[in-house]
Amino acid sequence: MAHDATAHHDDHDHKPHGFVNRWLYATNHKDIGTMYLVFSLVMFFLGGLMAMVIRAELMYPGLQLVEPEFFNQMTTMHALVMIFGAVMPAFVGLANWMVPLMVGAPDMALPRMNNWSFWIMPFAFTVLLLPLALKVFFGIGGGGPAGGWTLYPPLSLQGGDNVAFTIFAVHMMGISSIMGAINIIATILNMRAPGMDLLKMPVFVWSWLITAFLLIAVMPVLAGAVTMLLTDKFFGTTFFSATGGGDPVMFQHIFWFFGHPEVYIMILPAFGVVSEIIPTFARKPLFGYQAMVYAIASIAFLSFIVWAHHMFTVGMPLGGELFFMYATMLIAVPTGIKVFNWVFTMWKGSMTFETPMLFALGFVILFTIGGFSGLMLAIVPADFQYHDTYFVVAHFHYVLVTGAVFSIMAATYYWLPKWTGRMYNESLGNWHFWLSTIFVNLLFFPQHFLGLAGMPRRIPDYNVAFADWNFVSSIGGFGFGLSQLLFAYIVWDCARNKSLAKATDQVWEGARGLEWTVSSPAPYHSFVTPPVIDDSKLAHGDVSH
C-alpha cells in the first residue's frame, strides 16, 4: 500500500498499528490528509490515462483506436475523475494536513466525520467507474456515461443503467465534500490558537474557509439537479422534458448554478497555495494581504451570479445575455488584483527558484493566460464563435491544469519536506517542472488555434485542416503524461529514501508561519498545547500597518 509512506517515522507518537487501525479507523488529520493526497494521485493517473486515449485517437484524422461512443465515455469520465477524484480531493488533503498546522490546532474539529468524508470517496469512485470497468475488462453492459460530465439531458438520459451509477456516485461525492467542508469551517472558526485572529490567518486558510462555504452552498444544488435527472430517467417525471411540460434548459441553469462556484472551488485554494509560496521564496511579505482576502471573497460572491455564461448559445433573452456578460467581466477585477499583488510581492524581493517557486511562477503566468481566454469567452458575440470549440477546451485546461494542478504540485513540493522530514531531489524537481511546463503548453496552446479555426470540442475525428495542430497537441499530451511519472517517483523517493538530506524545521529560508515551527517530519500529534502566536513570525498575514 502506498499509504504506509508515512508509517515508519522514527518518532514515538503512539501511532495505531496495523492497516485497519491506522488507516481504516484513521482520525488523525495527517493520516487522513495523506490518504486524500494518495487517492488524488491515483485518480490523477487514472484520469490521465483516459486523456491519453483521447489524445491518441485525435493524433491523426480518421478513427484509428476507439469507436465514437467509447471516445465520448473517455471525455466524460476523464472530466469526472479529474474534477471530483483528482483536483478536489488533493485540495481537501492539503487542507487536512495543513489547516490545523497553520492555525495551531491539534487536529480537525470533527475527526470521526473526517474519517467518513475520506472513506466515502473510494466507494463513490468504485460506483462511478464500475460500468466503464465492466465494459472494458469483461465486456459487460454498455460502458460508462457518454453524455459529457455536464450530464445535459436529454442526451445523458439516453445512457443505460450507468445513469443510476453516475448519479449515485455524485451523491456520495457530494456528501463527502459537504462533510469535509463543515469540518474545515468548524476547525478554522473554533480551533485557532489564541491570538490567531481571522485577519492574521495565512491566505491558504482563508481561501479554504471561503471555498468550504462555496461547497456547502452548491453541492446540494448538484444533488438536486441529478436527483431530478434520476427520476426523469427511471420514474417517469418530466422535469427536463418539453413533452411533459419540463425544460431541458432548466437543467443547465441548475447545473451551472452549481458548476460555476465548483470551478472556483478548484481554484481558490490554488490562490491560497500560491500566496504562501511566493512570499516565502521572495523573502518578502505578501503584498496587500487584506486585498487578497477580499479578492477571494469577491470572486466567491461573483461565482454565484455568472452561471449562465456557460449557456450563451441556449437562446437567452438579450437582457440576460448582457447581465451575465457584464457580471462575468467583473470577475477580472478581483482576479487582476491577485495577479498584480503576486507580482508586487516579487518586486524588490530576494528571490530563489526552488521547485515550489517554479511551479508557483508557472501558475501565475499560465493561469493568467487562462484568465485572458476566460475574459474573451465572457464577450457574448465573440463567445458565439468560441462556444463549444477547442478554444474553450484550451481555456479551462489552462486554468485547471496549469492553474489548479500546478498549484497542487507547488504545494506538494513546498510541504513535502514537512510531511516526510526529508528534502526531495531538487534537480529532479526542476526537471519535472520544465518538462511539465514545456509539454503542457505544447498540449494546450495549439488548442486555442484549433478552436478559433473552427474545430468543435468533444469530437473523435476532424477535417484534415485540423490535423497538424492536433498532432502537436497529442505529442504535448504524451510528454506531459510521461513527465508526471517523474512526479510520482520524486514523491515516493522523498517518502522512502532514507539517504536523502534531512529537512530542517523551517525547511525554507523565507518560510513564515506556524507549520514551520513544528519539527520535520511533523509529529503525529502537534499543537497539543496551543502555541504562543508571535506576530512577527506569522505567515504572510502581517496587517499591522
Binding site: L63, L155, K284, G288, M346, P381, G454
Partner: protein, 307 residues
Amino acid sequence: MQDFPRRRRMGETMKRIGTMMTRLAFAASALAFSLPGFAAVDRWKLNMTPGVTEVSQQVYDIHMIILWICIVIGVLVFGAMGYAIFKFRKSKGAVAEKWSHNDKAEVVLTVVPVLILIAMAWPATKVLVNMADTRDAEMTIEITGYQWKWGYRYVDSGVRFISSLERNSDDTRQLGSGMDPNGVKNYLLDVDRPLVIPADTKVRFVITAGDVIHAWWVPKLGWKQDAIPGIINDQWTLVKEPGIYRGQCAELCGKDHGFMPIVVEVKPKAEFAQWLAAQQAPAAAPAEGATPDTAEPAAADAAPTQG
C-alpha cells in the same frame, strides 16, 4: 452600425499585423508543408475567420480588439514579472525590502481594469444588440437537429429535406476503414444535400431539435445557436457573396456528434428562385428526398432514433 467601416479598418490593420506575425512564426513550417498535396487545405490555421457577413466581421473585430487588449496587458504584467525575476534574485545579491502595501497602486490597479472592461463591454453590447434583431427578415427557414443529421424547412414555400454526412466521408470515418481522410474532399464537412439560401437577403432561422440538444454552427456566418427539443431559438444572416460555407454540430449529441456537418450554399437571388421552384415541383426531385410540406409532414419530421 454607422461606425462599422471605421471598426472594420481597425480590424483590417490588426488582421494585417496578425498575418504578418503568423507568417514570421510559421515560415519554416509553411516551407515544409508547401508541397502540392497540402496546397488545397488551410492547415496550421491560427485565428478566427472574419466570415462573410457584416455580423461575422463585427464578431471578428471584437475578438481581435479583446485579443490585443489581453496581449498588451499580458506583455506588461509578464514583463514586470520577468524583470522582477531577473533583477530581484538572491543570487544577484538582492536584499528583500519589507513593504507590503501601497494604497495608491492598489486603487489604480483596481480602477484601470474597470475602465478597460467598460471599453470592451461597450462595442460588445452594440454588436450583440444588432445580432439579436431578427426583424424584417425576407424569408424564414426552420432548422431541426436530429441524431445525427439536420432537417431544413423553408417555412414560406414548404420545401423540406434532410441533410446528412456525405457517403465518402462516412465510409472513410469508420473505425478501421483503412481509407485515408486526406484523400477525401472536405472530409467530414460535406453533406448529401446542402442548405441553399439566397444572397443579399436577410434570412431568419428558427432552430429546434427533435431528440437531444444540438447546435447549428457555420463559422463564416459568425454565430452558433443551440437546437433544443421543445424550444425554438431564432437567429439571422445576410450573406452578400454567393459561395459554399461549411460548419458542424457544436453541442455533444451522442456517438455521431462529430459526423453531422452543415453546408450552406449561397446562390444569387435569381438562381435561388429557380432552385426553390425546382424543389417545389412535386415530380422534379423526389429521388433527392425533397417533399412539399403538404405531402408527408409526419414522415419527414419523425426523429430517426429514440428521444
